[in-house]
């Protein structure tokens, strides 16, 4: 039961980005996930986002834990750096890597089991430390890899494939991320790339802890009636508060919109997001209101999607720690090991 290798041929009119790459150049090995898995669509969205941003593949580090979701970094950005950690430990490995080399783009890819069960503590601390990263949870409400046990994000009252009911409260990673100080928080759906791709692009441009919860139906174990993470359920209960029409670098946005329908969000580095509001009241800069909006809709069984919160002036772990600007691997032995005299001085400063 092996797939054939995806043929090398590509459409003759495929667009190329500024680096001369097509989106096919951002692919990885062929996926071994179940046919139809939402995770594969998220991989495709990451590929599209990196292609559109013309990111040099060698500037990306993909890190993940354990789970079907955590396997996906193999299936995209085949020319990038990768690290597959133990279950739930991606955030600490990512944090360490980020401290060592602040120049890379960090893409943490995890599952709801990996992040909300075994790795909940790691998740919390990486977020609260403000590590500059894109943290994506591919959220299917189950442990897909171990054959479909409820995960901690499964909604109370939702049903497993064979009818068992989940009686535990669910963890809402989006609400937690906001509460823990993430400076960019979004939720989207694997079946809606038009919404998801610009969110990933914006998150990559964001210089701080960016968290994206992506509902990603598990076709094998959690796509039945009674599940709240199925294609049908998510489509029916999706309350999209906005759509990111596009994000640009420093070039001015020239597209005309009807007044009042679009909000331009300028990020710290000067890049801009054009936000088309679908819900007039929703304010992406008001964290408290956003959290109450989320909880309110969750209670009604609605799934709020879109860019939910953004701090336009974030800072990150390196700022908190006042680390050197240069990545550690670019420093010489003298800078890294300044000698016992310097150590003495440093120790003295702590006494």
């Amino acid at each position: 039961m092996t797939y054939i290798v995806k043929p090398k041929f590509h459409h003759p009119a495929l667009p190329k980005n500024a680096l001369g790459y097509t989106h096919r150049d951002y692919e990885g090995s062929v996926s071994t996930l179940c046919a139809g898995c939402g995770h594969d669509s998220i991989s495709a969205a990451i590929i599209e986002a990196c292609f559109e941003l013309a990111i040099e593949p060698h500037r990306v580090a993909k890190l993940s834990g354990i789970g079907c979701s955590s396997k996906t970094p193999t299936y995209f950005l085949g020319q990038s750096h990768g690290f597959n950690s133990v279950h739930g430990r991606m955030p600490s490995v990512l944090t360490g890597a980020n401290l060592a080399n602040r120049d890379l783009i960090y893409l943490g890819v995890s599952g709801d089991g990996d992040s909300a069960s075994i790795g909940l503590g790691q998740f919390a601390h990486a977020i609260r430390r403000g590590v500059n990263m894109v943290y994506i949870v591919e959220n299917n409400g189950v442990y897909g890899l171990t054959k479909g046990q409820f995960s901690a994000t499964a909604d109370r009252g939702s049903k497993a494939k064979r009818g068992a009911v989940n009686n535990d409260s669910s963890i809402d990673l989006v609400a937690m991320a906001m509460q823990l100080g993430a400076t960019f928080v979004a939720r989207s759906f694997s079946g809606d790339k038009e919404q998801l791709v610009p969110i990933i692009k914006a998150a990559i441009e964001h210089k701080g802890a960016a968290f994206i919860d992506v509902l990603s139906p598990c076709v094998a174990f959690n796509n039945h009636l009674g599940s709240t993470k199925s294609f049908d359920f998510v489509r029916m209960h999706n309350e999209a508060v906005n759509r990111l029409d596009f994000i640009t670098g420093r070039t001015p946005i020239t597209v005309d919109y009807e007044p009042g329908t679009v909000e331009i969000v300028e990020q710290h580095d000067g890049s801009k997001i054009a936000l088309r509001k679908l819900n007039a009241e929703y304010n992406i800069h008001d964290k408290l209101a956003a959290m109450s909006f989320l909880l309110h809709h969750a209670a009604e069984g609605q799934i709020v999607t879109g860019l939910l919160y953004v701090d336009s002036d974030p800072d990150d772990l390196h700022a908190h720690l006042a680390t050197v600007d240069a990545p550690l691997n670019s420093l010489g032995e003298k800078e890294l090991c300044p000698g016992s005299a310097t150590l003495e001085k440093f120790n003295a400063s702590l006494r």
Binding site: T2, K8, F9, S41, S43, S190, K193, P217
Partner: protein
């Protein structure tokens, strides 16, 4: 945009680009797969049914299928469809038992058909009608059957034994061949009481070049097709050392290459037009140049020079191409001095014409303003309901595969006419649809895509090839090369079939498709839709497949243009909404079955 009706036989037929482009609609990918499996006899029979002369066409076909081949749209070169046909013919087992049997004289249906000319058109009509019990008698001025396949195409491209074999398959069906018997009067022929007459007499006249010196130097100026047939039948076996061939079509290529083998050492082709616009197929030009024959272009012959009744050369005016505002090309004087080329012989290959001196104009058979018979392009009947035309005789010189295609259609018409049916009601093709799914990720065709570039057909070394005009130049693929070339075929007849009701819109097919063929979007006008797809659908000759029944109310749009038929969409679909189904489309030929089916 309107939803696609995939049940219409033409829809999926068009996706099989090669078969659609083949005038006889040969099921190309079907026979290529059989070749890959080493089933040469089966591959041959598929060809034999459609195009009647697989061994001949596998060496000589004009191959309209190849420019159409989808492979040529995803990489540089199309599949070598034509030369794979030859593989089937070369390596097949004895297939005589699989051919239809001659109908014994006493068991025939009593209807008699006269066929004028023993070229591919007539022979096709005879092949289709003889097994049905018609008495078919073929007349030809030549003593051997085959028409121009025998008289014109040089033996180094097409050996006699291949022509003998395939013409005999037809004559052995109880078809009578009367060689050396030119029909001198259609009126008389009709008076003999034939039930129908098929005219497959070709376009036998070579165009003249009336410029000064033509008459004076006539001894060394030859009309290409007359010269070639004299060579074929052994009446001519030498030519001067220095030869000029005038003309840029395939006849010119055969003339120059033949000259090289009959003593021509300094042989050149000189054409009026530019090199690119020459009528000869690119591969014919390549073959000629490979044999050391230069091609000079933009030279219009002005005068044959001669001394004492002997040709000394040809003078040319140098021209250049100019285009008017409508983009039409005109050749105008280039303002350079005339050029003179010396030579011993000239071969004039500047075109071919029809001529029907043997058809009286008062027998109810109308001719048009160009003195061509009025022939219905669908039924091939003339204005005399008893007389049918086909091949080069119908609409001017084309090629073998068109002659075959005409022959099949004319046979259907003749059969309908002689059975009292309306020949304008044409039988529909037979379509067979079979899912290729064998298991998860398992298909009954090889869906893996080979990256190989087109394989060259091995040829004999020039030194040997140029020694004898009867030595075949191409050696053909061996079985290993044939397999590798066959694997390049994209199996375009294995269709992607979509069932909207089953789709959960998970995007798996969209994401996996290597060619970005599939898009889920809201419907719109075709022109607009073509711009909104995952990859722009700029090839307007290729259809969009639009299907509905999706929960979100969107439509599935697939651009058929560069689909590799790799089946990955179907492998990735969790619900079986995509399936790979083989569409076998066979054109209906004259046979018992086609009467009831129509």
């Amino acid at each position: 945009m309107k939803l696609t009706d995939i049940a219409a036989p033409d829809y999926f037929h068009k996706v099989v680009d090669c078969q659609w482009a083949c005038p006889a609609h040969t099921p190309v990918p079907e026979y290529i797969r059989l070749i890959a499996q080493g089933r040469y006899g089966d591959a041959y029979m598929i060809n034999w049914k459609s195009n009647v002369f697989p061994g001949i066409l596998g060496r000589t076909c004009d191959r309209p299928c190849e420019p159409a081949c989808r492979r040529g749209r995803v990489e540089k070169d199309p599949v070598a469809i034509c030369r794979l046909k030859r593989v089937a013919a070369d390596y097949k087992e004895d297939i005589k038992e699989r051919l239809p049997k001659a109908v014994e004289k006493g068991k025939r249906n009593g209807k008699r058909i006269a066929l004028v000319g023993a070229g591919p058109a007539s022979l096709t009509v005879a092949r289709d009608l003889a097994p049905m019990g018609y008495e078919c008698v073929v007349f030809d001025g030549d003593f051997r059957s085959g028409g121009m396949m025998r008289s014109q195409i040089p033996k180094f491209r097409l050996p006699d034994k291949v022509i003998d074999e395939e013409c005999n398959y037809i004559l052995d069906l109880g078809v009578e061949f009367r060689g050396g018997r030119p029909v001198e009067s259609l009126k008389k022929l009709l008076a003999e009481g034939w039930d129908a007459v098929f005219v497959g007499s070709g376009a036998p006249r070579g165009r003249e070049l009336d410029i000064p010196g033509r008459k004076e130097a006539a001894k060394n100026i030859h009309i290409g097709i007359d010269w070639l047939s004299s060579v074929s039948f052994g009446h001519i076996n030498s030519i001067g050392k220095r030869v000029i061939v005038l003309g840029g079509g395939n006849t010119a290529m055969d003339c120059c290459r033949s000259s090289r083998r009959l003593g021509g050492e300094d042989v050149k082709v000189i054409v009026r037009s530019g090199f690119e616009e020459m009528k000869a197929s690119p591969w014919e030009k390549e073959d000629a140049m490979h044999e050391g024959i230069p091609i000079h272009n933009y030279l219009v012959p002005k005068e044959f020079t001669h001394r004492d009744g002997k040709l000394t050369g040809v003078t040319f005016e140098k021209v250049k191409a100019e285009y008017d505002e409508k983009g039409r090309r005109k050749l105008v004087n280039a303002g350079e001095p005339d050029q003179h080329f010396e030579c011993d012989d000239v071969l004039v290959a500047v075109g071919q014409e029809n001529s029907f001196p043997w058809i009286e104009r008062d027998i109810g058979l109308e001719f048009d303003q160009w003195d061509m018979p009025k022939v219905d392009p669908k039924t091939f009947v003339s204005t005399n309901p008893q007389v049918f035309f086909g091949g080069d005789a119908a609409f001017g010189p084309k090629n073998i595969i068109w002659a075959v295609a005409h022959g099949h259609e004319a046979a259907v018409s003749i059969d309908k006419y002689l059975s009292g049916e309306d020949m304008n009601v044409r039988p529909l093709p037979a379509v067979e649809v079979v899912s290729q799914k064998m298991g998860i990720h398992e298909w009954s065709y090889d869906n893996d895509i080979a990256n190989d570039k087109r394989y060259r057909v091995p040829t004999r070394d020039n030194v040997i090839a140029l020694k004898d005009i009867r030595t075949e130049v191409e050696l053909g693929y061996d079985d290993k090369l044939a397999f590798q070339e066959a694997q390049r075929c994209l199996n375009c007849d294995v269709q992607t079939v979509f069932t909207g009701q089953l789709c959960i819109e998970c995007d798996a097919c969209v994401d996996i498709c290597p060619m970005d063929c599939i898009t889920f979007t809201h419907n719109g006008e075709e022109a607009d839709l073509r711009t909104r797809l995952k990859a722009p659908a700029q090839n307007l000759t290729q259809d969009l497949y639009v299907a509905d029944n999706l929960k979100t109310g969107r439509v599935m749009v697939k651009d058929e243009d560069v689909c590799l038929h790799c089946g990955l969409c179907a492998e990735r679909c969790p619900t079986g909404a995509w399936d790979m189904q083989k569409y076998l489309i066979e054109m209906t030929q004259a046979e018992q079955a086609c009467r009831s089916r129509a």
